[in-house]
């Protein structure tokens, strides 16, 4: 209506009308593709969870948690692998958390934009995305080959190297969120800087720092590649970290490649346990962050 009233040149109006249609089609097309991409992602996540539940739930029995790994047909469990994972992940966090925390403090409170701090931040970010199998090879060369045997300690060190950069990143980010006025208040009371940092800043940011620790646990608990050459795996119950040690991901890897029905079943159930654990930690952390912010 407006085109016929205002335009004295009908040809031009027609052209612009067809262009408007074209633009609309283009927009619809892009919107449709975007919906499709989003649906594919949701479908894949759904498919992974569905596959794990379908194949893993039937094997979720009490003996899985009470018996150690056994030969095919021997009715074994995953108790030693679960325990091994807990021990190695725990020690990895004990080793990695102090290093990550102190480095994060250095970056946020001391280094800031100095050349050294920038280098440390850069290297930490690189380690965050470094191929985990290389970390495994590195620890093999440093801790396994010279000592002559695989050990749970070596596995923990490999996992600690992977866990540390996550905690460096979250600690620095969270400390930077602490208001300057809190630091000034501490200093005005005559507290030395290290006390201000540890007892005011870190305490104020402890929720966020804990988030980093949880994310690091979730990340390393599912790692397989760095453990293959360090803690190797062990089919017997063992709490001795100086010896080869089983872990859930490595046990899954060993069983998933086998042709035995009961091993496959345990691999799926183990996979379900690892994934549920990791996803639940992630959901708790992310819902917690959103709840805190809004």
């Amino acid at each position: 209506m407006s085109a016929s009233q205002t335009s004295t040149r009908p040809g031009r109006a027609k052209k612009s009308a067809s262009r408007a249609v074209q633009r609309k089609i283009m927009d619809r097309l892009a919107t449709g593709m975007s919906w499709a991409a989003m649906l594919i992602v949701v479908f894949v996540l759904g498919s992974i969870i569905w596959t794990l539940l379908k194949n893993g739930l039937p094997g979720l029995t009490a003996s899985l948690f009470t018996k150690s790994m056994g030969a095919p047909g021997q009715d074994g469990g995953l108790a030693n692998a679960i325990m091994g994972s807990i021990l190695q992940t725990g020690l990895a966090i004990l080793l990695g958390a102090p290093a990550g925390l102190l480095t994060g403090i250095y970056l946020a409170e001391y280094g800031s934009e100095s050349a050294l701090a920038r280098a440390v931040r850069f290297v930490s970010d690189m380690l965050l995305s470094a191929p985990s199998i290389l970390i495994g090879l590195f620890v093999y060369m440093v801790l396994v080959a010279p000592l002559g045997h695989f050990s749970g300690y070596a596995g923990s060190v490999a996992l600690a190297i992977l866990a540390m950069p996550i905690m460096v990143r979250t600690t620095e980010d969270m400390l930077r969120l602490v208001p300057l006025s809190m630091r000034e208040a501490g200093i005005a009371l005559g507290a030395p800087k290290w006390r201000v940092i540890l007892f005011i800043c870190v305490r104020a940011a402890r929720g966020g720092i804990m988030t980093g620790v949880l994310l690091a646990i979730a990340r390393v608990a599912g790692e397989t590649a760095p453990l293959l050459f360090t803690s190797l795996g062990n089919s017997e119950w063992s709490l001795n970290m100086g010896r080869p040690m089983a872990s859930l991901p490595v046990a899954i890897y060993q069983y998933a490649g086998s042709a035995y029905q009961d091993w496959m079943q345990q691999a799926w159930t183990g996979a379900l346990l690892v994934t549920l654990g990791v996803l639940i930690i992630n959901i708790v952390v992310r819902v917690g962050i959103h709840g805190g912010r809004t």
């Binding site: 609309k24 050294l116 440390v120 470094a130 200093i187 290290w194 991901p249 990791v278 996803l279």
Partner: protein
């Protein structure tokens, strides 16, 4: 953030001595600085150890190690060409699939979705990133491989097998495993991190730019294509390069689906290997001190070099993108 370049005036000396005020500050500073330097040393040690470990292989085969596609433990001849090719090809294939997916999802999250669904789907994408690598491997092997073998590969051969030029891409027996399956798995695995970066750079654009484009009557796609994308170009490229770095180092998932065959070819369906998958599979059969182990370490050194250079590029691009965002907003 450096609050007190100078220590605060020491009025109450006794109190400070009790709390370690005089010695505490320099000590604590030294402690955190030493830990920071420790992080640098870890990377330095990784680089040194991988280089030293791989040195016998570089010495034995010379520069030919890089271009030889032989991997023969019997005759003790090892070359890096096939796994290096497999690593680059599978990652490139993965990115080819992941980038449109990630872009579509980021577009949906930032421009199309209402806040609550956007939060839920954003969370789902992050959860996908958290799924352990080995789970992707199992899922790929038991869920993705059968339909690839029964439907996708026969269909592709039927469609493209007669066309010269394309037939090489689809040749080979339909095993289900192979280069394309590995690319698909890698795409799913790196897509969340690319999406996260894209989403961040898209939302970091000042709202006023977006609003003025809408005010001029632009459609949502035109705003994305002509305003948001040019504005956030560097960050987007940085995110894609980051995805590339991640894809090249992926081990467990690729090991399950790539089929492990040491050969270079154009077929999307032929089994291949990557540096990481070869190390994971061959390492247990490599005795300490053997030439094979040295060759695997040398491959590790190559992977380290490729992925660190890639990650370095992505950091620079992302940092530049951030600096630009800060300057313009």
């Amino acid at each position: 953030m450096d609050v007190s370049a100078k220590p605060p005036a020491q009025m109450d000396g006794q109190k400070h001595r009790r709390s370690g005020g005089f010695a505490g500050d320099p000590l604590f500073k030294m402690l955190v600085m030493a830990t920071g330097i420790g992080v640098l040393l870890v990377l330095g040690a990784i680089i040194a150890v991988m280089s030293i470990g791989g040195f016998p292989a570089f010495k034995a085969f010379g520069p030919g190690f890089l271009v030889s596609a032989v991997w023969n433990p019997v005759s003790q001849h090892f070359g890096a060409a096939a796994p290096v090719f497999g690593t680059l090809a599978s990652s490139a294939l993965g990115l080819l699939i992941a980038v449109p997916l990630a872009f579509g999802t980021a577009f949906w999250l930032t421009a199309l979705a209402p806040p609550v669904p956007a939060a839920i789907i954003g969370m789902a994408v992050q959860l996908l990133a958290a799924v352990p690598s080995i789970i992707f491997g199992m899922w790929g092997f038991f869920v993705l491989v059968p339909p690839m073998a029964h439907y996708v590969q026969p269909f592709a051969r039927h469609m493209f097998g007669h066309i010269p030029g394309l037939s090489a891409l689809v040749s080979g027996a339909p095993f289900g495993t192979g280069m394309l399956t590995a690319g698909l798995i890698l795409a799913i695995m790196v897509m969340p991190s690319i999406t996260a970066v894209m989403r961040d750079v898209f939302t970091s654009m000042p709202t006023v730019l977006r609003e003025s484009a809408y005010g001029l009557g632009a459609t949502r796609w035109e705003v994305m294509r002509q305003v948001v994308l040019p504005w956030s170009r560097q960050g987007v490229v940085g995110g894609i390069v980051l995805g590339m770095g991640r894809a090249m180092g992926e081990t467990m998932a690729v090991t399950f689906v790539i089929g492990d065959s040491n050969h270079i070819g154009w077929s999307l369906f032929a089994p291949a290997n990557t540096i990481a998958s070869l190390i994971a599979l061959e390492f247990p059969e490599s005795p300490a001190g053997s030439l094979k182990l040295a060759s695997l370490m040398a491959l590790g050194a190559i992977l380290m070099a490729i992925s660190f250079v890639t990650l370095w590029c992505s950091r620079i691009l992302l940092a530049r993108g951030e600096a630009q965002a800060g300057k313009r907003s």
